[in-house]
Every structure is written in structure tokens, then in C-alpha cells.
């Protein structure tokens, strides 16, 4: 049959300037170079702290995005997975003397199991109902951590002794943590990019975009969704363990609160849900903004930093409904149409 479409779209080539699915772009490599430079140069401690937080949140937002963006399971309960990771590695280390290098994998498996169970029960719920179920599940974990004080320290939390020992993942310099969290962030990013171009990735997109059509194409929706939430929970928990080692203290308010869960969804929403670069852009903009605003305005005008933060969010959501990555993607399409 003849095609009536006059515009011809060429296949994607290997190298791109702007990020696109299934290829590596110069933009992404540039960002990576900047990240490396940030670690290499000597910065004041407060700035290093912002950079470390940014790496951590870029990785966490990417992990959330696998479930929320790619599989379409918007979760407001990712603090549960984060907290499970942080608590598991810390409890194993503080109570049983097991190094966090091992403990973080145990936490990740536990979180993946919890995520899988949650998906089996709740993945059939759609839209707001699924969101509410994740929020409730996270509250269950938070209540558990608050009340099982013999294990978790309850509301007083758990402290990790700041004895510098690389085998226990406690480092003297912030640079070491920055390297560790950059590795985490890049690992999750590479995984995300591989997933995007894979058979499994296409199955997730299909299940997200139309479940009837995906079922008719032979896709097991429950399996796709459950595995996506497992993977997302696993990666989130690793981030939780790393955060605990960096912060050297955790309590339910810090690692299990609903506010934390909202942050997981907020960064990708601002940067662009369902893309690899989106959550990263969200983290790069929002984390430093929030940290620096708090640093400079926190004492002078209490609450003002939150107002500015909120204002920026509203502006971005209004003018870039598909996130910053959506704006980049439009640019990329314009560029591609121009070339034969």
C-alpha cells in the first residue's frame, strides 16, 4: 500500500547531540564530564555536600522513574524502599557487625521483595488508587520502624559510629562519598538506558500506554509491572544504604517520611517522567536549589526558601508540562526533521 505521509523520518543514528531513547548523546557525556570535574576540583564542604545530595537524588529519581515513568506505576511510597535499604544495612552493621558493603544488598533484596508483594496486590489498581496504596504501604513501614524500637531505635533512630574504616563504608573525606554516589548515579543511569532500548523496556512502555493492546500483543501485564517495581525498589534501597552511610544517622522522619516519598515523584515530574535524562535534570535543578535556598535564606527568613522552591515548581509545571526533558525532546525532533 502507498503511504500518504510526505514527511520521511530517518532511523536514529548512533550519536546525537540531545538525549534520545536508545542512543548516547553528547549532552549526556557532557553532563558526566561536568560531574567528574565537580569531584576533581577542591570545593568548600557545603558545596560538596550539595553535589553529593544531587548525585544521590539523581540516582533515586531514576530508580523511581523505572516504576513511575516506564511502567506507569506512579508511587508515593518510595520512602518505604529507601528506608528498608537504609535500616537493613545499618541494623546489620550496628547490631550484627556485618559490613554495609554486604548489608546494602540484603536491604535491596528485602525492598525488592516488598515491592514485588505490593505490586502483586496493588498493580491491578489504576491511577489515584494505586498511588494511595503505595502511600499507605510506606506508612506501614514507617510505623513499624517507629514502634520496633529494640531493632530500629524507634523515634530516636540509629547512629553509625564515625570511625573511619573503608571496609565499613565510612570515609574521612567527602570526596570519597562523592565518588561512591557518582558511581551509584551513573550505574542506575546506564541501567536505565539499557532498559529503554531493550525488549523488556518496550514491554513496559506498551503496558503503560495501553494495557488492552499490550495484552493482545502477548505481554503479561502483571509480570511486567511486578518486576518493574521490584527493580525500582531494589535500586532505591541501595541509595538508602548509601545515604545512611553518608549521613551516619537515620530515624523514621529522615528516611521514611511521606515528604521523602513526594520528593521521589517530584524530581522526575519536573525533569520529565518516562525519560532517562528527565529525573537527572530534575535532581540537578531542584536539589541544589532547595539546599542553597535553605542555606542562604533558612535563618534570615524562615519559610521563604520553601515559597521560592514552590514558585519555581509551579512555573516549570505550567510551561513545561512534559518536564524539561520534554522540551529537549521537542528540540531533538525538530533537529531530526530538518535532516533527510
Amino acid at each position: 500500500m502507498r503511504s500518504p505521509s510526505p514527511a520521511r523520518y530517518g532511523p536514529p543514528s548512533r550519536w546525537r547531540v540531545l538525549p534520545e531513547r536508545g542512543t548516547v548523546s553528547i549532552f549526556e557525556l557532557g553532563l558526566f564530564a561536568v560531574a567528574l570535574t565537580m569531584i576533581a576540583v577542591d570545593l568548600p564542604q557545603t558545596l560538596q555536600d550539595v553535589i553529593i545530595q544531587t548525585f544521590l537524588w539523581a540516582g533515586l529519581a531514576l530508580a523511581w522513574n523505572i516504576a513511575g515513568g516506564y511502567a506507569g506505576m506512579i508511587s508515593f511510597g518510595h520512602a518505604a524502599f529507601f528506608g528498608l535499604g537504609a535500616y537493613t544495612s545499618t541494623i546489620l552493621s550496628v547490631h550484627y557487625g556485618i559490613t554495609p558493603w554486604v548489608g546494602m544488598w540484603a536491604g535491596a533484596l528485602l525492598a525488592a521483595g516488598f515491592g514485588g508483594a505490593l505490586a502483586m496486590i496493588c498493580a491491578r489498581l489504576r491511577g489515584p488508587f494505586f498511588i494511595l496504596s503505595t502511600l499507605a504501604a510506606a506508612e506501614v513501614i514507617r510505623m513499624g520502624a517507629l514502634n520496633w524500637a529494640s531493632l530500629t531505635g524507634g523515634a530516636e533512630g540509629l547512629s553509625i559510629l564515625p570511625v573511619v574504616d573503608a571496609t565499613n563504608m565510612v570515609f574521612a573525606s567527602k570526596t570519597a562519598y562523592a565518588v561512591l554516589l557518582l558511581i551509584y548515579f551513573v550505574a542506575v543511569y546506564v541501567l536505565t538506558k539499557l532498559l529503554e532500548g531493550s525488549r523488556y523496556g518496550l514491554y513496559l512502555f506498551a503496558a503503560r500506554d495501553d494495557e488492552d493492546a499490550a495484552g493482545a500483543a502477548g505481554i503479561n501485564l502483571l509480570l511486567a509491572r511486578t518486576s518493574a517495581l521490584c527493580l525500582s525498589a531494589f535500586l532505591t534501597a541501595i541509595g538508602g544504604s548509601l545515604f545512611a552511610q553518608y549521613f551516619q544517622f537515620l530515624d523514621p522522619t529522615h528516611v521514611l517520611s511521606p515528604e521523602l516519598s513526594f520528593q521521589f515523584a517530584l524530581l522526575p515530574a519536573l525533569g520529565g517522567i518516562g525519560t532517562a535524562i528527565g529525573p537527572v535534570l530534575g535532581a540537578i535543578i531542584l536539589v541544589p536549589l532547595s539546599e542553597l535556598l535553605r542555606g542562604y535564606l533558612g535563618s534570615a527568613a524562615a519559610g521563604l526558601h520553601m515559597a521560592i522552591y514552590g514558585g519555581v515548581l509551579i512555573v516549570v509545571m505550567l510551561y513545561f508540562p512534559a518536564g524539561l526533558a520534554g522540551a529537549l525532546a521537542r528540540l531533538a525532533v525538530c533537529r531530526r526533521k530538518g535532516t533527510p
Partner: protein, 242 residues
């Protein structure tokens, strides 16, 4: 010839309404069967029963020697039952070829192999030029073609077409009719629901008519066009097939 699909006394009730009220028929391997009937006759419900989207209230559906009634859609699809949707259901965030490749992944190992497999199919349905375009640029007619491409890419043994001609121009209808008519020779068995009667009456050697959840006629286009019950229920007047 062997029987590929056998529906035995299938019933599906929604509350007091029996949308499919005891339908029995069988389809031989390699057949092209048209299924017509007024709106609300139960055609889509019958498709949903065969493709596993809903469970039958009672009755049996045998496909390739296995009872598939109540199977989940993905199992039915993997067993070889492909279907299109009356209202196209594209994956909004994927390109045209990716939309089709998702189906091809049921038999191809890698995404690149699936994409290669789909190139010929896109050529067949006339979407080759927009292979790398986002589906959002497709018009209603092109979305219908996309539905057809997706089900072909699944490589099922039985295809259930659901109004793939609605909204197409007469040129497009001609092209699509040729495509569908050639499918049995390519090893597909086809059931085809359509309201564009001149197309289906010309292409399908056997027509079934569904009315109020029951088959009221099953025969050649000539028999169907003359059948008083069909004329009363659906055609309105005797149809001139010439």
C-alpha cells in the same frame, strides 16, 4: 482442512442483558469469514470472549484443540489469537515501528530483530514512510493501518479484525480489502467484523450474521444478501452484489 476455532454455545451476560446469547460456529484453518450485524449485536463481545478479554458466562471456546475460554489476553495472544481494536489503541509514546515491534517481540529475540521483521509489514500496510515517526502524527485512517500492522507482526494463526475499514477513504478501503483477502494464502485464518459491506461481501467467501447475541445466518454472501431475517435485522433492503 482442520478446525482451528470452535465456539460451542458461548454465552456472555452483563446483568440481565445477554450480549452473546448462545453462539456456536467453527472456523477451518485458512478460512476468511466475515462477521456482520447491527450495532450492539454482540460482535465485539464475541471477540472479547475469543481473545480472552472477558470470560464466557457459559459455553466453550476451543482453539487449536485447546479450551481457551477464560484465558488471559496475553495467553490467548501467545497461543496464536491476534486481534485489532475497533477504536485504535496505539502506544502513545512509541514510534510507529516500535508500536509494531512490540507485537513482533513475541517471536523475535531482540528489539533490532523485531524491528527488521516489521519493516516488511509496514511496507505492506503503507506505513513504511512514517516508520520512525511518533504515532501522534498518524491520522485516523493510518491508525487503523497501524492496528492491522500490529496484529500481523504478532504472526498469529487466527486474526480477529474489528472494523478496520471504518473512516477510511474509498481508495484506502480498496487497498485494505486486497491486503485482507490475500491473508489466507499467507497462512492466516481470518474473522473480519465490518460495516463496510461492499468490501466484506466481495472479499469473504463466508459471512456470518449476528443479531441480538445470536447467529441468524451463516453462508455465502449471496445467501446472506437474500436471507429475509438478515434483511429485516440489518440490511434493510435486499442487497445488490453486482
Amino acid at each position: 482442512m482442520t478446525v482451528l476455532l470452535e465456539v460451542k454455545d458461548a454465552v456472555r451476560a452483563f446483568g440481565p442483558l445477554r450480549a452473546v446469547a448462545g453462539v456456536s460456529f467453527s472456523v477451518q484453518r485458512g478460512e476468511l469469514v466475515g462477521l456482520i450485524g447491527p450495532n450492539g449485536a454482540g460482535k465485539s463481545t464475541l471477540y472479547n470472549l475469543i481473545a480472552g478479554a472477558i470470560r464466557p458466562t457459559s459455553g466453550q471456546i476451543w482453539f487449536n484443540g485447546r479450551s481457551v475460554g477464560g484465558w488471559q489476553p496475553f495467553r490467548a495472544a501467545r497461543a496464536g489469537i491476534g486481534r485489532t481494536f475497533q477504536i485504535p489503541k496505539p502506544y502513545r509514546h512509541l514510534t510507529v515501528i516500535e508500536n509494531v515491534a512490540v507485537s513482533a517481540l513475541s517471536h523475535e529475540r531482540t528489539v533490532s530483530a523485531a524491528r527488521r521483521y516489521c519493516e516488511a509489514i509496514l511496507e505492506d500496510v503503507g506505513l513504511a514512510d512514517c516508520a520512525e515517526a511518533p504515532v501522534s502524527i498518524l491520522t485516523a485512517g493510518l491508525l487503523k493501518r497501524l492496528e492491522v500492522a500490529r496484529v500481523l507482526a504478532l504472526r498469529p494463526s487466527l486474526i480477529l479484525f474489528d472494523e478496520i475499514m471504518a473512516g477510511l477513504t474509498s481508495t484506502e478501503v480498496r487497498g485494505m480489502t486486497e491486503l485482507v483477502a490475500a491473508l489466507p494464502a499467507r497462512g492466516f485464518t481470518v474473522i473480519w467484523v465490518e460495516h463496510v459491506l461492499y468490501a466484506i461481501m466481495k472479499a469473504a467467501p463466508r459471512i456470518m450474521v449476528l443479531h441480538r447475541g445470536q447467529l441468524i445466518c451463516d453462508g455465502s454472501p449471496e445467501q446472506v444478501a437474500k436471507d429475509p431475517a438478515v434483511i429485516k435485522a440489518y440490511l434493510g433492503e435486499e442487497m445488490n452484489l453486482a
